[in-house]
Symmetry: C2
Subunit: 197 residues, 2 copies
């Protein structure tokens, strides 16, 4: 049901708290959490983007533990989560890889807490992702203080609005990227219709 | 806007993968993530429940770092998140504490991946939480393999349905508790109406 959906977690180029472009380090729990969430929501892939070879090697090594005999025997559901994980040196490379796999360039959607009053509405993005006649989609998340603006301008087709709360308190909006990924996937691919039996 | 909302993260009594009742260890990132998410969604408090004194002391020590001079100067937004954190030896004690603070016993709602076809519908729970005339509410999350059934039967008034995805793949539903908290708060307190300017 719906088109192919991928998520990317970008470690470079992203902003630090001063707005400078930096590379962030891979966080172990991001790998586990995003893989579990992506598979729960039926995503086709989770691409971890880092230009640093050592970081990509570390991720591959960790994945091979969970995908291999010992890890898989100990926790088969974690192995299934890691099956959706791949690594890429750049967002451009990730887009090319999806284009090659699916025969069509994905619709690339950037996310960020800064996109307050702009972007494709949630309902429109959801309708598109749940339409099996649409081509693939790639939802892009930034680590640190968010995706570099030039990256978004150069490679992304649309932005999603910032996640907002009804009861937002004194403008506090500092969600961990793990929370942002969960909420975005639930808004776009979640089933909220469940009713009591 | 809306009533007072608290969340609790329970480390005992919860189930392990064999269904046995255990105590789990506190995870550092859970404290940060849940505090940030709770404050973003305007929650009034995040109660970490553990019967183990050493664990509660460790959490208090960590909180005092972020709330104190050095931590606060380095990351003021993290300090604001930690302001909502408290610790409690049991869910019963947490409920009593909220009852004392608010002059009324909270509506206690359990969450879990096992509550597939039961519970108060999302729309009903959301309407109640966004109604300022309602008393306080406490949303309860379990670590490990979920809340102990006797705890839910004995202390909780309702359960929320399991989080489900439209594109759920081969029945895979293994969300990290950090993801579950984010998604539940967004379903109950999120603003999905944001449209492009």
């Amino acid at each position: 049901m719906g088109c192919s959906v991928y998520i990317a977690l970008v470690h470079h180029p992203v902003k630090n708290r001063l707005g400078q472009v930096v590379s962030t380090a891979v966080t172990n729990l991001d790998i586990h959490d995003l893989a579990r969430t992506a598979v729960t929501y039926g995503c086709d892939g989770y691409v971890l983007v880092s230009p640093l070879l050592k970081q990509r090697e570390m991720v591959r090594q960790m994945a091979s533990h969970w995908l291999g005999g010992d890890g898989r025997a100990r926790n088969p559901t974690r192995a299934r989560a890691f099956e959706c994980l791949s690594v890429s040196p750049s967002l451009e490379h990730a887009i090319e890889w999806i284009t090659d796999s699916r025969g069509q360039r994905p619709w690339v959607i950037a996310t960020g807490a800064g996109y307050r009053s702009s972007g494709v509405p949630w309902s429109e993005a959801r309708a598109r992702l749940l339409d099996p006649c649409q081509g693939p989609a790639l939802i892009v998340f930034g680590t640190g203080w968010g995706l570099d603006d030039d990256l978004v301008d150069g490679l992304c087709d649309d932005t999603l609005p910032a996640i907002e709360a009804v009861r937002e308190r004194r403008g506090y909006n500092h969600l961990p990227v793990r929370a942002a990924v969960s909420i975005v996937l639930d808004r776009l691919l979640g089933d909220r219709e469940a009713t009591p039996s």
